[in-house]
């Protein structure tokens, strides 16, 4: 079976792996796809076939190799990386940042990935408190033709938490996660969010804040201002575009950082971080 996704130039081929499609449907928000009329596509951009040890995926982004995953949720989870890469590449203009993005005050707060920062959990807890999550792992960015305004674009994926969940989750957070549990594997749990909690594919909002996350055991949640050069350094390290020149990446990210509030959030418990962010930027009492 080949599926044609609206917004992607090429098909995705499911060769004996059609059972992945219902899982895919559950984790996508705003995507439209349908079976291709004839299996006549010469070059599907992404192929998933059943192999002896699991679901084997090939794509232009796997450098001639293949990704093999036994569990269907894990296979879909990894497939989304390539779907997002295709979406960004086919746009001809989007940049990609390894970062979460949450709409707090009409604008997007972007959280570049840092080791063990818990950005996905934080994103879900913010959604539980009324914020709108745009992305929990990779955020597409639209430079808006260089006029200094950067828009974050929602990729339309449910957020995915790594298992096991943090053992210091407060009861409210744990209850929200458990009551919104979606597709699950040993490694990951998708969280079902509705349209007010999660932006659909293509929805956009201006990036107005970039926040580095620093998780420290038992630390009280605190937000401080940091230099733009520090933020720029981190965003360059989390830039994922492989087909964009270094100077274009540097100038685009420098332009985005120049127009943003640049902050660091230090915290011990994710709930404390979510509460501080909402009270500081989203007028939560």
């Amino acid at each position: 079976m080949e599926l044609k996704f609206e917004g992607l130039k090429n098909m995705i081929s499911f060769d004996g792996t059609e059972e992945l499609v219902p899982v895919l449907e559950k984790v996508l928000k705003g995507w439209k796809f349908k079976p291709a009329k004839n299996n006549a596509s010469k070059n599907p951009i992404i192929r998933i076939r059943r192999g002896p040890t699991g679901y084997e995926r090939t794509s232009p982004w796997l450098n001639g190799g293949k990704m093999v995953l036994a569990n269907p949720v894990d296979a879909v989870c990894d497939l989304l990386l390539d779907i997002e890469r295709a979406f960004i590449a086919d746009s001809g203009k989007l940049l990609a940042l390894h970062a979460a993005a949450v709409e707090l005050d009409g604008g997007l707060s972007v959280f570049p990935s840092t080791h063990n920062a818990g950005k996905s959990t934080l994103g879900v807890l913010l959604a539980a408190r009324g914020a709108r999550l745009f992305a929990d792992d990779v955020t597409p960015l639209d430079p808006q033709q260089g006029n200094g305004l950067f828009m974050g674009v929602a990729p339309g994926f449910l957020p995915r938490l790594r298992l096991p969940l943090p053992d210091d989750l407060a009861p409210e957070g744990a209850d929200f996660i458990n009551s919104h549990a979606g597709p699950k594997s040993e490694n990951f749990l998708y969280i079902n969010l509705n349209e007010t909690q999660l932006a659909s594919l293509g929805q956009s909002a201006p990036v107005n804040r970039i926040i580095l996350l620093e998780r420290k055991k038992d630390a009280a949640a605190e937000i401080i201002t940091v230099k733009k050069s520090e933020i720029l350094k981190h965003t360059i390290m989390q830039s994922l575009n492989q087909d964009v020149s270094a100077i274009e990446i540097l100038d685009n990210l420098n332009g985005m950082v120049a127009g943003c509030e640049c902050l660091r959030l230090t915290y011990g418990r994710s709930e404390d971080a979510a509460k501080l962010l909402m009270s500081t930027f989203a007028n939560e009492k």
């Binding site: 230099k227 733009k228 050069s229 720029l232 020149s245 270094a246 100077i247 540097l250 420098n254």
Partner: protein
């Protein structure tokens, strides 16, 4: 190499592009692919390299200028810093010996 770096003239590679943000400098390698970040000390040395060719400074001269600007830091320490930075810039392809 180290004596050359300090006694001779090291120039910015003509195809190295850079941007200044706060006290830092972000360098784009002549290969067009890699981005390097210079901390404030290395950035200061990079800025000192911005002289017309006939007025370019040697590493020793740069260390003396920095010593006047930062009298609390020993000249020997600054010479070591300049030597390391200039050597690194040459090794990584951002600078060339005159």
């Amino acid at each position: 190499m180290n004596d050359d770096v300090m006694q001779g003239i090291i120039l910015r590679h003509p195809q190295a592009i850079f941007r200044e943000v706060d006290e830092d400098v972000f360098l784009v390698h002549p290969d067009g692919v890699t981005i390097y970040n210079l901390n404030p000390t290395a950035a200061a040395i990079w800025r000192l390299m911005d002289q017309p060719n006939n007025e370019a400074l040697s590493g020793m001269e740069m260390a003396e200028i920095l010593s006047a600007a930062f009298p609390v830091i020993s000249l020997e320490r600054l010479q070591s810093d300049v030597k390391n930075v200039l050597g690194g810039l040459v090794n990584e392809g951002f600078a060339v010996k005159q």
